[in-house]
């Protein structure tokens, strides 16, 4: 056990024996000690303090440490996508006599958090006062960039900094600028109006989910998908409280352990008897007891388990045919020659009618064939042979037996089969939750197939858009700026070339350009693009909460930034990236904003909650909206004024929350909404299937598209097949990286990493260490607490390697000898983060930026491969 006694040699308790300096006390020495104690105890009567000596109400510990004077409603909209609603309590701190934000109280009426919050929410309160917060704009005077250079910072007014940035932007062509930011309303409009590309760091978080779900279900533009403060790109939530059975593939539960917004629901579901089966190489705390079964699956092989489960469900007829007929393309015919859905002239999918022995449209036919074929018929003057989608799925998975899967995954075959049957039997109130950085997320090159397979399984058992299963987004949204004030003319074309090579991924490019500009960018390729090419001259990071150091192989980006003409960061802190910046602009804290949030994370009930600022942003902090407006008005005023005139008195309205409330008839203004309590919910019962109908493919009766033709356009298959990981172990490079983070950290956010009270918590729980199984440690001659160096196989990281040095923690929580557990987002070097400096290591340094030519072969969405990394571990 690590000592936690501020360095003083302390007695430890081992098996009930108190040991001084690791030696047992002998009878002789005990008698000496007892004698000494006894000498003291005779001063006071013996046994005095075994009885009550203090009357109620008389003890100093019965006085509170502070007095609450205000409770300010807020929505936690930066740490995770749960967006818990709560109150920030403000009061007088007795120690200092000053009024300040002190803690949180829950809002029980919020359907997401239900009165709870998490350690990150609490820590946000204190980060309001972090002494390392950036409060002024900084401008570099030393042109030489790099971690070991003194930038020669001078303070300049933020407005002036923005104006200087605008002047530099005006000297560049729009193809030379990249905006590194999530697709929030302001960034979207700015990039569209300027005609510049946007990429963002949520590739590794949400990318795979987003694109697969989009291609199978939401068919953007989804009228319900909208801007929120935490653009999650999650199209759904899970009804944890009412589900019967959950499968967790990865479900990265160290970090999910910090999501109060889902934890209270999971706990309720568990108390009501939900069964949970977890597949994860790591036994996370969620797998200790909340999960009923845990399998230390071989990393990157979850797809095999899913494919085998699909085979069991299909072979044994455990699917819901009625649901598939109503809500999916399972009966839709696929031309065996072209591999495409067969459609009527007006674009409706065709099915084979068993009654009519011919084709009908999918909505008309009450008794379509789900299997068999090929069915041959004439269509538009040609002979077509086609099979139903479900038949093709059966053929695709026919060889994927549980035994086959067991040989790949190390999950016993009998358990795979049993779990598949149990899951199907417990349907439709079942789900397979996965929320970023999970095995089913963008972690492996084959994760997009896993996501596809998971969606198919959930559809087969009828769990999507069902109470107790997968809940789709409901009927409320926050509008985009362009919806509130439509542009008076067409936006300029986006540059055809993008430094994140999105243009070479038609699937993501098409969605970004034509359907959803906020679609995740290819951040994992951006570094490669900036490094290998010379097109981009200006990089603008919108950092708070998810800066550069959420990125993979940041050292490649750092190298690339050395050659830029302009690098800007908008951030709450001076993180490492500042050493490459020309300007750093101070961003405000999330508790310094008003908010309206649409509760996407648990979307069972249409709901809005509002938040008010706890305080004004201090110093010269500047909001993102203000930056975007200033740049927009200077460079593309026709898009930032209501009539296109560029008249500063006619800037476009930005009261998006207010518009949302007005459109729903809830309130005429945010002020009115907040006066009424800042909360609105429609708690009508969830209507199964309603949202699918409205947003799915094949509208007006929307459906889940199990068979994704789009993948054929890019040389991949329309249904998931087995594919191994992109990399394999080689010699000493045999440790597969599994990445998570502490419940009290998120991304590389200094709001938590720079918190002095959280640092010992981190260290005492070995979060600043790399974890391996004790047997693995024995094999490589490494003991608890040893310093080691981790290196990526140079075959996969030929350029800019940066080995990581860290201490080892030996733990049976790492369920396999062939894995190393890494904790994400630490390892800051900057002296401007006095607590976070040198805390932990940066695991991202081990993960190569992606060569798009390689990625395309494995993943048409371009989003995966973060954990397809093998490292060697040596003492050092």
């Amino acid at each position: 056990m690590r000592a936690f006694t501020n360095g003083m040699a302390m007695p430890t308790v081992k098996q009930g024996v108190v040991c001084m300096h690791e030696k047992k006390i002998t009878r002789r020495s005990f008698l000496k000690l007892a004698g000494a104690l006894g000498a003291v105890t005779v001063i006071t009567p013996p046994l005095r303090n075994l009885k009550v000596v203090r009357a109620f109400g008389k003890h100093s510990q019965e006085k509170p440490a502070y007095t609450v004077t205000k409770r300010i409603p807020q929505v936690c909209a930066r740490a995770c996508e749960a967006d818990c609603a709560y109150y920030v309590t403000v009061g007088v701190d007795q120690a200092t006599g000053l009024e300040r934000a002190l803690s949180l109280e829950g809002r029980p009426e919020d359907p997401v958090s239900r009165g709870k919050y998490c350690i990150k929410g609490l820590a946000f309160v204190d980060s309001l006062y972090d002494p390392d917060r950036l409060l002024v704009s900084m401008k570099r005077t030393n042109p030489k960039r790099g971690m070991n250079e003194d930038p020669g910072w001078v303070v300049i007014p933020s407005q002036q900094a923005v104006d200087e940035i605008i002047d530099k932007f005006k000297k560049l062509r729009r193809e030379e600028i990249i905006m590194c930011s999530p697709g929030d309303p302001y960034t979207n409009l700015l990039c569209k109006s300027l005609g510049i590309r946007r990429s963002d760091q949520r590739t590794e978080c949400f990318g795979t989910h987003y694109f697969i779900n989009t291609l199978m279900i939401t068919n953007p533009p989804n009228k319900f998908y909208s801007s929120t403060y935490t653009p999650t790109h999650s199209i759904w939530g899970y009804d944890y409280s009412n589900t019967n059975y959950m499968l967790w593939f990865g479900f990265d539960s160290f970090s999910k352990a910090g999501k109060a917004g889902i934890l209270n629901h999971i706990a309720e579901g568990k108390r009501k008897g939900a069964k949970i089966v977890a597949f994860n190489p790591v036994k996370t705390p969620l797998a200790d007891d909340i999960a009923d079964e845990w399998y230390p699956i071989k990393p990157g092989t979850d797809l095999a388990v899913l494919l085998a489960m699909l085979k069991i469900v299909l072979d044994e007829g455990l699917y819901d045919e009625n649901y598939l007929r109503e809500y999916s393309d399972a009966a839709a015919l696929v031309d065996v020659k072209t591999g495409r859905h067969v459609a009527s002239q007006d674009g409706k999918w065709l099915v084979w009618s068993k009654e009519k022995n011919g084709v009908e449209t999918i909505d008309e036919c009450r008794a379509p064939a789900f299997d068999g074929g090929p069915y041959t018929f004439e269509l538009d003057g040609r002979t077509v042979s086609a099979k139903p989608v479900l038949q093709l799925i059966k053929e695709t998975v026919k060889d994927y037996t549980p035994e086959w899967a067991a040989s790949i995954t190390d999950v016993p075959a009998k358990d795979i089969a049993r779990i598949a049957r149990e899951f199907a039997k417990a349907a439709p109130k079942v789900c397979i939750p996965c929320l970023k950085r999970d095995a089913a997320g963008p972690n492996y090159a084959n994760s997009w197939r896993l996501r596809h397979a998971i969606n198919i399984l959930q559809a087969l058992v009828g769990a999507i858009d069902r109470e107790g299963g997968v809940l789709l987004l409901n009927g409320v949204k926050i509008p985009w700026l362009e919806e509130v004030s439509p542009p008076v003319k067409e936006f300029p074309e986006q540059p055809t070339w993008s430094p994140d090579f999105r243009h070479e991924f038609p699937i993501s490019e098409k969605i970004y350009r034509e359907k959803d500009f906020s679609a995740p960018g290819h951040y994992g390729i951006l570094g490669y693009g900036l490094y290998e090419t010379d097109v981009i001259k200006a990089v603008f990071f919108r950092s708070p909460y998810r800066g550069l150091y959420s990125l993979i192989q940041p050292q490649m980006v750092e190298k690339a930034l050395e050659k830029m003409e302009l690098v800007v960061d908008w951030n709450m802190y001076m993180t490492d990236v500042a050493y490459w910046c020309d300007y750093v602009l101070p961003g405000g804290h999330q508790f310094e904003e008003s908010k309206l949030d649409a509760r996407q994370y648990y979307p069972k009930y249409p709901c809005y909650v509002g938040g008010l600022p706890v305080q004004k942003s201090p110093g010269d902090c500047i909001g993102w909206g203000a930056i975007a407006m200033r740049i927009g008005m200077a460079m593309a005023p026709e898009y930032w004024t209501t009539d296109g005139s560029g008249d500063p008195s006619k800037t476009i309205p930005t009261n998006l929350g207010e518009r949302a409330l007005q459109e729903q008839g809830i309130a005429s203004s945010m002020g009115e909404f907040m006066e009424k309590g800042g909360f609105w919910m429609d708690d009508s019962p969830y209507e199964d299937g309603k949202t699918l109908r409205e947003i799915g493919y094949g509208r007006p009766n929307g459906r889940i598209r199990l068979y994704v033709d789009d993948f054929l356009d890019v040389g991949h298959e329309a249904l998931p097949r087995w594919a191994p990981r992109w990399t394999q172990p080689e010699g000493e490079y045999k440790f597969s990286t599994v990445i998570t983070r502490a419940p009290w950290h998120i991304h590389a956010d200094p709001n938590f990493l720079n918190n002095p009270a959280l640092k010992p918590l981190t260290q005492m729980n070995y979060i600043d260490c790399v974890w391996i199984h004790p047997d693995a440690g024995k094999e490589i001659g490494v003991s608890e607490g040893d310093w080691v160096v981790l290196e990526t196989n140079p075959r996969y990281m030929p350029k800019e390697p940066r080995p990581v040095r860290a201490k080892v923690h030996l733990s049976k929580r790492v369920g396999r000898k062939d894995c190393v557990l890494l904790f994400h987002g630490m390892g800051y070097r900057t002296k401007h983060l006095r607590v976070a400096q040198n805390l932990g290591y940066r695991e991202g340094d081990l993960i190569p930026q992606k060569d798009p030519a390689i990625v395309k072969k494995h993943d048409p969405t371009g989003m995966g491969w973060v954990e397809d990394v093998y490292v060697r571990i040596r003492k050092g």
């Binding site: 056990m1 006694t5 009878r27 909340i290 009270a757 929580r813």
Partner: protein, 206 residues
């Protein structure tokens, strides 16, 4: 006022340490926490087996810390909490040495002890302790000690769990043997000797 207790159902604990940080904020212990001192903390991986270890004051029915305290700074209240009065503490650290659960932490700078008070300031107002309120999974429960103990014993018997904390006002239900998770071996409360006697007996290397 009733005699209160806290029940920790470790099956629902996911180690997020929201309890730890809520306690820090509630009692304004940021500075102490930055020096590794805490009133409650969940350790994620301390034992031989994967599992969580809740390090917190057990608010013993007959607290040894109070028994050995040379000045009466440690005392048992009539509502269950073992309280600490820093103004009369002389920093002899007898409680640190004596506590079988290794709870009291000595604060070198303040020359005093850091230990949970069961949020006495909230309990006397009729509220529940901050950690109990904050737990996202409601793994912590607060209530009248006898009833809570009976509930804990029933769950332990029905579900095959281990009940740790016999003879205290803080009970922990675990699925594994607590010492394998990092918990100190709890003193056996046989009734033949006082807890103080049990502790002293266990110190001797026979």
């Amino acid at each position: 006022m009733a005699n209160y207790a806290i029940l920790v159902d470790d099956r629902y604990c996911i180690g997020c340490n929201t309890c730890f940080y809520k306690c820090v904020q509630e009692n304004r212990l940021h500075e102490e926490a930055s020096r590794s001192l805490h009133r409650t903390m969940v350790f994620l991986d301390q034992g031989e087996e994967p599992g969580k270890y809740h390090h917190r004051c057990m608010h013993c029915e007959n607290p040894v810390c109070a028994a050995v305290c040379t000045t009466g700074a440690m005392s048992k209240s009539d509502y269950g909490a073992v309280l600490y009065e820093p103004d009369i503490c002389i920093a002899c650290r007898s409680c640190v040495l004596a506590c079988p659960y290794k709870v009291p932490q000595y604060d070198e700078e303040a020359k005093g002890i850091v230990k949970c008070s069961m949020c006495a300031h909230r309990v006397v107002q009729g509220n529940i302790p901050a950690c109990v309120e904050a737990c996202p999974t409601s793994a912590l429960e607060f209530g009248e000690a006898k009833a809570l103990r009976a509930k804990a014993e029933k769950i332990a018997a029905e579900e095959g769990l281990v009940l740790y904390g016999v003879g205290t006002n803080v009970m922990v239900l675990t699925t594994k043997e607590p010492t394998s998770l990092g918990y100190p071996k709890a003193p056996v409360v046989t009734g033949k000797r006082s807890v103080l006697g049990e502790v002293f007996a266990s110190l001797i290397d026979e």
